[in-house]
């Protein structure tokens, strides 16, 4: 579904990604793990079009993403749940969800998509007229995911969904991701919470200092000695 081949990208004179190659197949949950500053968020931004690719190929279902305007990437079926949620704080839950359906195709299906999201997240239905800025951390994450789902994507990009949330809420968020996966969505998830995400993912990549250092099944990752020592401290 999604394929990156030797993608490099950066900010000004600073190069953040070096020859990154990865793929996500339909129906999978793929995790990208790595330390702070590894380039995980940069990777997400490159895929969703917020940051241009300097070299390499980036395709979604065979269509090259580097040739289309950033605001049209969502039309290829990619929805990005940004780091730190990035909800619109002065707008209500429902208005945030509405913006998610801005693209013409999504707008046509707005009613049914909204009903779907409310069914998936009843808490959002309860709080539909509440200002998004006043939601709790876990609810904000739910709203951000819901907003991404409004565009009717096939691939969901999730950037550190557990960031800044209490451990109990983190569990709930990962359960949400499981449910979404159960609904048939493909997920590419970037995370620092390695233990939780490896329990959820099918495959994983290790990103360090802008390059892929390791790739394999989640089970392989979980058993890896070097990984355990470096990141989980066991």
């Amino acid at each position: 579904m999604l394929e990156l081949s030797n993608v490099s990208a950066g900010y000004g004179s600073f190069q953040a990604l070096f020859d990154v190659s990865l793929e996500v197949r339909a129906g999978e949950v793929v995790a990208v793990i790595g330390p702070n500053g590894a380039g995980k968020t940069t990777l997400m931004r490159v895929i969703s079009g917020l940051l241009p690719v300097r070299s390499g190929a980036l395709t979604m279902e065979g269509r090259s993403l580097t040739e289309i305007a950033p605001h049209r990437v969502v039309e290829t079926g990619i929805a990005h749940v940004p780091e730190n949620r990035r909800l619109f704080p002065g707008m209500t839950v429902e208005e945030n969800l509405k913006i998610g359906a801005f693209a013409p195709e999504a707008r046509a299906r707005f009613g049914e998509r909204l009903a779907f999201v409310y069914e998936l997240f009843p808490r959002m239905l309860e709080r539909r007229n509440q200002l998004a800025g006043t939601l709790s951390g876990g609810e904000q994450q739910m709203c951000a995911i819901g907003r991404a789902l409004m565009s009717g994507p096939s691939l969901l990009l999730m950037d550190e969904p557990s960031a800044g949330l209490a451990p109990v809420i983190v569990h709930q968020v990962f359960d949400l991701v499981r449910r979404i996966r159960g609904e048939g969505y493909t997920v590419l998830i970037v995370e620092q919470n390695i233990q939780q995400v490896l329990r959820l993912a099918d495959r994983a990549y290790l990103l360090e200092v802008g390059a892929i250092k390791m790739s394999g099944s989640a089970a392989e990752f979980a058993e890896s000695e070097s990984l355990r020592k470096a990141y989980i401290g066991i």
């Binding site: 917020l50 605001h71 969502v74 990035r86 704080p89 002065g90 509405k98 913006i99 907003r147 565009s151």
Partner: protein, 289 residues
């Protein structure tokens, strides 16, 4: 209850009517700043252009006034679009001072252009609307009409911003412009539409002002600075803040002008503004960032 009270009430009502048009002006300026993060220093000059347009279409070409106003509104909306397309968008990324200078330059350009084409004379569309008498108070019908139209315009804008997808996108861009692309929103298009709306509001204000006042190349100076003060008082970029501040300032102007001389009303308003800036420089309803 003596005559004293009824005249005070008259001043309060006139303040309310004045506030309506000032609120409309503040709305246009706040909308553009809130969404695009640029202050159109030349906003009052756009209104002037609209006023001249109405004068020309109605008095010189002889078309009906309402038609002239409608044409002018569309025209100034187009002017707003051009201001963004030609002047603002090339310099969107550069330092704010450059943007201020650019719109400042546009101010002088528009004033000089108007002087060149129309000369320095004061032009009036010659409309004499009645003055209504209500319980010993004299209320100008023109002012009443202006207030009503301003209110109608603001209600239409409110409905647009709160009910439509584009309206929601415009409000969203003001809160977090960076992620708009991932929602499928083309921010450039949003900026152009917002600029056109800002121009349209200026055009509406022009229609309302031309009913009551003469137009001349420097007419922008009569309400431009006050509009800025109102916007800053209410919190620059905050639509509700500007709306509220407009009515507060207009009350100072009319009620202050009632108790002392007319000019003192303005002085009081300015003093109030300065005091508020010392006490609360971010504005009454400071914009949420």
């Amino acid at each position: 209850m003596g005559i004293f009270d009824i005249f005070l009430l008259e001043a309060v009502i006139n303040g309310l009517l004045l506030g309506g048009v000032l609120a409309l002006l503040a709305l246009g300026l706040n909308l553009v700043f809130g969404v695009i993060d640029v202050v159109w220093i030349c906003y009052a000059e756009l209104v002037m252009a609209g006023m001249y347009g109405i004068y020309w279409i109605h008095v010189v070409w002889g078309l009906p006034l309402v038609l002239a106003c409608a044409i002018a509104m569309v025209g100034v909306a187009g002017l707003g679009f051009l201001v963004h397309y030609l002047v603002i968008s090339p310099i969107l990324g550069s330092a704010p001072i450059n943007q201020l200078l650019a719109t400042g330059g546009l101010l002088f350009f528009l004033q000089s252009f108007a002087t060149l084409v129309f000369g320095n004379d004061f032009r009036n569309i010659g409309l004499r609307l009645p003055v209504i008498e209500v319980a010993d108070m004299y209320i100008s019908f023109a002012r009443l009409l202006a207030f009503g139209a301003a209110l109608a315009g603001m209600i239409v804008l409110y409905l647009f911003l709160s009910r439509t997808f584009m309206g929601a996108a415009i409000r969203a861009v003001a809160q977090d412009r960076e992620i708009m692309a991932i929602m499928g929103v083309n921010t450039k298009k949003v900026y152009l539409i917002t600029s056109a709306i800002g121009g349209g509001l200026a055009g509406l204000a022009a229609a309302l002002l031309v009913l009551q006042y003469d137009v001349h190349p420097a007419v922008g100076l009569s309400f431009g600075p006050i509009t800025f003060m109102i916007c800053v008082l209410g919190g620059l970029g905050n639509l509700l803040g500007g709306f509220v501040a407009a009515f507060i300032m207009s009350q100072f102007i009319t009620v202050g002008g009632f108790y002392f001389d007319l000019e003192w009303g303005y002085v009081l308003a300015f003093v109030f503004f300065i005091m508020m800036m010392i006490w609360r420089p971010q504005g009454i309803l400071a914009r949420r960032r």
